[in-house]
Amino acid sequence: MTRQLILERAVKEIQDGMCVNLGIGMPTLIANMIPDDFNVMLQSENGLLGIGPYPQKDEVDPDLINAGKETVTAKAGASFFDSAESFAMIRGGHIDLAILGGMEVSETGDLANWMIPGKMVKGMGGAMDLVQGAKRIVVIMDHVNKHGESKVKKSCTLPLTGEKVVHCLITELAVFHFTDAGMELIELQNGVTLDEVKSKTEADFTISPSIEIRA
């Protein structure tokens, strides 16, 4: 299953001791996959650092939710704070890593993930703040859309969430890194060929030497 493949690769981006923000939706699922022996503080932008597991039925508290509005718990060492301070943490570069969903990523690391023109606009929430503020931005998404078109573009066609903000892109086919030098393919997912990645990627990218050897 492609989603599981993406999530299993994404969790490897999380290191022991990090403070991490996981975006709403698919990225939230990564929380359950973090190794038990890691001391990781997950941030929820509505004002919690140290998200715990979902509550037991008798622990449910409407005053304790995550940014996806789900009932959660707070783990040992957690702290609560207001929204301005929450985003001071984000904008001030105190969050080590944000893992976010994507609609399109460009070869220069632009990200579009908040609106589709012609459809009802729901709003950007905290995504524009996270992409500018967190130290490292990892985007997880399907490599192609339901019509088979590449979501990894020369330039994004959808309205941007941020320009040159993505550090790492993980899809069910491959992993790319972004630097000032451009976009580089650094890993192929298991069983995926370089030709398949090339044919399904609109963006121009260089190929890490380690991959040339495998391919």
Partner: protein, 231 residues
């Protein structure tokens, strides 16, 4: 002098058509549910409402939408609300979408007497259009303005008679910054205690920001997404 009032209706008596009202809460958590209902019952129209979200169809700020009292909404995320979509598409409702951190900071700035500030959030996006751009140390920022409201509606857990406030868990969210940004800040709480009964070290919002305090009963605290372990 106590700021404690007994009637929600009289607490909002001075709010007129066209007022700007800043409302605390995130989703349906920590929303001033009794003040919103009182405002719905009062029926004032053409309101500009500043709040992170706009409730759901039949609860929270959605009640004001249902009653067509909101002219303009300033928010970061409004995706939970079908009425919102209808009124927006029909042109009845004006919307300004603001990144969540920028919204929080605009309220903080407004309450702190800071007219504007620079942030990288939104640079290179539609949010930046028409805004002043400025470079600091090689990075580009845009200018965002502080927000001050005619009224601020806040939900806290406890207050004393001076209006010192304590919030509970993530129901705090936007409420402390909202409290600072209203010309008249009206707070509803679950419990009021006497002056001196709150430890000064535990107070999240000083009563200096607060003009009126009300005690609500039978809080609904509706949960948007009930998630439990092993569910």
């Amino acid at each position: 002098m106590s700021k404690l009032l007994s009637s929600f209706d009289s607490a909002i008596e001075q709010i007129e058509d066209g007022a700007t009202i800043i409302v605390g809460g995130f989703g349906l958590s920590g929303i001033p549910e009794k003040l919103i209902i009182a405002l719905r019952n009062k029926g004032v129209k053409d309101l500009t409402v500043v709040s992170n979200n706009c409730g759901v169809d039949d609860w929270g700020l959605g009640l004001l939408l249902e009653n067509k009292q909101i002219k303009k909404m300033i928010a970061s995320y409004v995706g939970e609300n079908k009425l919102f979509e209808q009124q927006f598409l029909s042109g009845e409702l004006e919307v300004e979408l603001v990144p969540q951190g920028t919204l929080a900071e605009r309220l903080r700035a407004g309450g702190a007497g800071i007219p504007a500030f620079y942030t990288a959030t939104g640079v290179g996006t539609e949010v930046a259009k028409g805004k002043e751009h400025k470079e600091f140390d090689g990075r580009t920022y845009i200018m965002e303005k502080g927000i001050i409201g005619d009224f601020a509606f806040v939900k806290a857990w406890k207050a004393d008679h001076f209006g010192n406030l304590v919030y509970r868990k993530t129901a705090r969210n936007f409420n402390p910054v909202v409290a600072t940004a209203g010309k008249v800040t009206i707070v509803e709480v679950e419990e009021v205690v006497g002056i001196g009964e709150l430890d000064p070290d535990e107070i999240h919002t000083s009563g200096v920001y607060v003009q009126k305090v009300l005690v609500g009963t039978d809080y609904v605290k509706r949960i948007e997404k009930l998630t439990t372990a092993n569910a």
